[in-house]
């Protein structure tokens, strides 16, 4: 890899977020005392590595499911937001996690747990989009537009909002690849596994996606200087 390539190294995947909302969950009036009690019990168990966590879930250990949820919730939800928009993201994330928990008995560890989870999340998001298209419903409002309108943003935050807006306007195939590779920091091998395509296809799609994204940002008046100062 030459200097130019090295300078474009990707960021590592988002770090796990463990046990952040157990207390909040326990306070919610959803489904009554049973869920509160269970949330309190489940908050105690959080195996450190993915394999141990999967084993714990298969054994039915209290708290293991919620631990997995907290470990992957931001990644799954962010993916859902970027593929289907904020309006439908919660529904898609819910569907993704249900598929994940139901499918864990079949998870054989051939791929990394994160890769497998991303695949289910992407599939849930793309299925959701297909159903919406079949039902001829209008697209959900752009999540980031709504966010940008809700509160003023400054400096590089403005730039990021504009990048998010441009991402949301990319064709979904380009958007998915760029989100998985450039935003989530996955390698092409992982992206190819998730999307069920060849590594070469993942690479070519990514470069096309970046080129389209750059065109969109330029059309929005985002200059090279703005990007470099962002």
């Amino acid at each position: 890899m030459d200097n130019a390539s090295a300078a474009m190294s990707v960021k590592p995947p988002t770090k796990p977020m463990l046990g952040a909302t157990a207390q909040l969950t326990a306070q919610l009036p959803i489904d009554g005392l049973r869920l509160k009690a269970r949330a309190a019990a489940e908050a105690k168990v959080q195996p450190d590595n993915d394999a141990a966590l999967v084993d714990a879930i298969r054994r039915g250990d209290a708290g293991s499911r919620e631990a997995l949820y907290h470990r992957f919730k931001r990644r799954v939800y962010a993916l859902a937001v970027r593929i289907v928009g904020t309006v439908d993201a919660e529904e898609v994330a819910q569907e993704a996690f249900i598929r994940i928990f139901r499918g864990l008995t079949k998870f054989r560890g051939d791929a990394a747990l994160a890769t497998w989870i991303y695949r289910l999340a992407v599939n849930a998001a793309l299925s959701h989009r297909s159903r919406r298209a079949a039902a001829a419903q209008p697209e959900a409002p752009d999540a980031v537009d709504a966010q940008a309108g809700a509160e003023p943003v400054r400096g590089d935050a403005v730039l990021r909002v504009r990048i998010e807006r441009a991402l949301a306007r990319l064709p979904v195939g380009y958007r998915t690849v760029i989100v998985l590779h450039d935003v989530e920091g996955l390698e092409h091998e992982e992206v190819a596994q998730i999307l069920g395509c060849h590594v070469g296809t993942s690479k070519s799609q990514l470069h096309k996606a970046r080129a389209r994204l750059r065109e969109m940002l330029a059309a929005d008046g985002i200059t090279a200087a703005a990007l470099e100062n962002g």
């Binding site: 030459d2 959803i30 489904d31 049973r34 269970r38 949330a39 919730k73 939800y77 096309k208 090279a224």
Partner: protein, 240 residues
Amino acid sequence: MTACRAYTTERLSAFADGDLSAAEAAAVRAHAATCPDCTAALADLRALVSNTARLDAPEPPPTLWPSIAGALDKHERRGWFSIANWRPFAVGALAGAAVVLAIVALPALRGPRNGVPAGSPIAETAATSPAVADPLLHEAEAEFAEAAAAYERSIEKLRGLLARQEARWSPQERTRMAERLGRLDDAIARSRELARRTPGDSAGNEQLFAAYQQKIAFLAAAVHRGGEAGEWDKAGARTP
């Protein structure tokens, strides 16, 4: 974006990621060294990727986990009542009936063959259940109906055996039998109605299956004791 048309943004992106062949990469590198536009475009791409990598991961709403936990819990409660779990029991009921046929009812089969034709006391099935929109719920209801049908087949077989003996009974005995079967059928009908009003709920179906089991136990005992007129009504036969 570059005014130079030697390389597209797409190719520059591939170069930046090291995805070009060595020969192509060398050519791009040599060109960029003398082309300010392409050098700027590479820096531009680098900045774009860097900014994209720093996009925030939004925090999911606090309602998400409770929704997931609730949906899983609901699914698993239905799953507990799925046919996969009930099949052994339903098969057990049929097997029990078969044992009754093989062991208990042999004397009846060797007895007089002038019985009246058998008729199922249970005509109503889960086909009367209301339309269920939720596919999972629909699936669960179909499984309940399948288990109920298995019970009803057992009942029908036992009822057929018992019918062969009824010809030897007095009118009073037939009336008592009809009353007791009627009470058992009422219990089944009430349970079925409860299950119908609360589709997918465990309580209604538990009660329905318990009512079926009670009728099967009563009929089995009646067949066992019913070789001779009046014997079916002796103590020991579970009555409703």
